[in-house]
Subunit: 205 residues, 2 copies
Amino acid sequence: MSASDSKHISFTKLPESEAVWTKLVKCTYLDPTGTQRTWESAERTTRPKDCDIDGVGIVAILERESGPEIMLQKQYRPPVERVCIEIPAGLIDAGETAEQAAVRELREETGYVGTVKDVSPIMFNDPGFCNTNLRTVHMTVDMSLPENQNPKPQLEEEEFIEVFFVPLNTLFAECKRLEAEGYAIDARIGTLAEGIEVAKAFKLS
Amino acid sequence: MSASDSKHISFTKLPESEAVWTKLVKCTYLDPTGTQRTWESAERTTRPKDCDIDGVGIVAILERESGPEIMLQKQYRPPVERVCIEIPAGLIDAGETAEQAAVRELREETGYVGTVKDVSPIMFNDPGFCNTNLRTVHMTVDMSLPENQNPKPQLEEEEFIEVFFVPLNTLFAECKRLEAEGYAIDARIGTLAEGIEVAKAFKLS
């Protein structure tokens, strides 16, 4: 039984009356000339009150003797009808910081215990279309810790997540290879891989 | 008159009957145990038939003597109520390739003429929430070309876009500085900057 055993059945129109997790919003604004305009936006309904983000993405790095590796996941994503290659991620709970959400989500989804190293600015996933956003939390995973010897995820009944590791240095090639195998690539991991390639191509240091 | 002169007025519920550019969709699928489940998804209504992407993002690099610089934009984004820092981007037209859309959009939005170097896998912006996606097209901009001496964008009446350049090597620090000034950071540029920092931190080459 793996994430790849999921199967798409159908897409149908979601009536407004049935929408629980998502909603459509009309934005009214003045453009720079003072003209009033409107814009359509999609939103999650789950962002906690007084919180400025929907969730966190987690760049979890293992430092192995052969070089650094990043923790990735395979998870079936109904909106894209396919198993998606992603970094660990999750929605934030009320009262949590991004760091706390990241430590909790990594533990729940993968079983691994990580240490927070850095937190990104708030990043908007598709700001011409929706307001969904996240902070990326950068963590290291110390594989010598006793709690990381036999990590056990605590998944919800409807979650099926497979964890795997990829060397950072070959991440972009691996994204291309996984896409060719039929996986969908999440923008966070694909764009991180592009950033690594750009740094290498222009010898940034 | 600049992008920052835009002003948020209100968010209201968008009735299903008024939605033109966006829609909510109910996904029905079988999970790996064979249990039938549903999921909510948001979609753009603009993806051309038989096209596998909504649009393109453009990583346009200028090679200056002082080092490579990336072309960025400031644009007011109603869904996030703020001016957003983004790479040039746009929706794809029917019958276009990602490369053709990128050349056209760069010309329209910024006036610059670029040369395509590489195209990314399809990347999904937020695959637990929506199906929106893009390919990143990597381009170089030759500043010695006559057509790049006095570039003139061809903007739509409702578009107000400001173009600027940032050294690739300080992109992450610049994202943090711009966020502190009140700008919203698009995930594509923020995550590309994170990838550059990761490559530098782990001395990938």
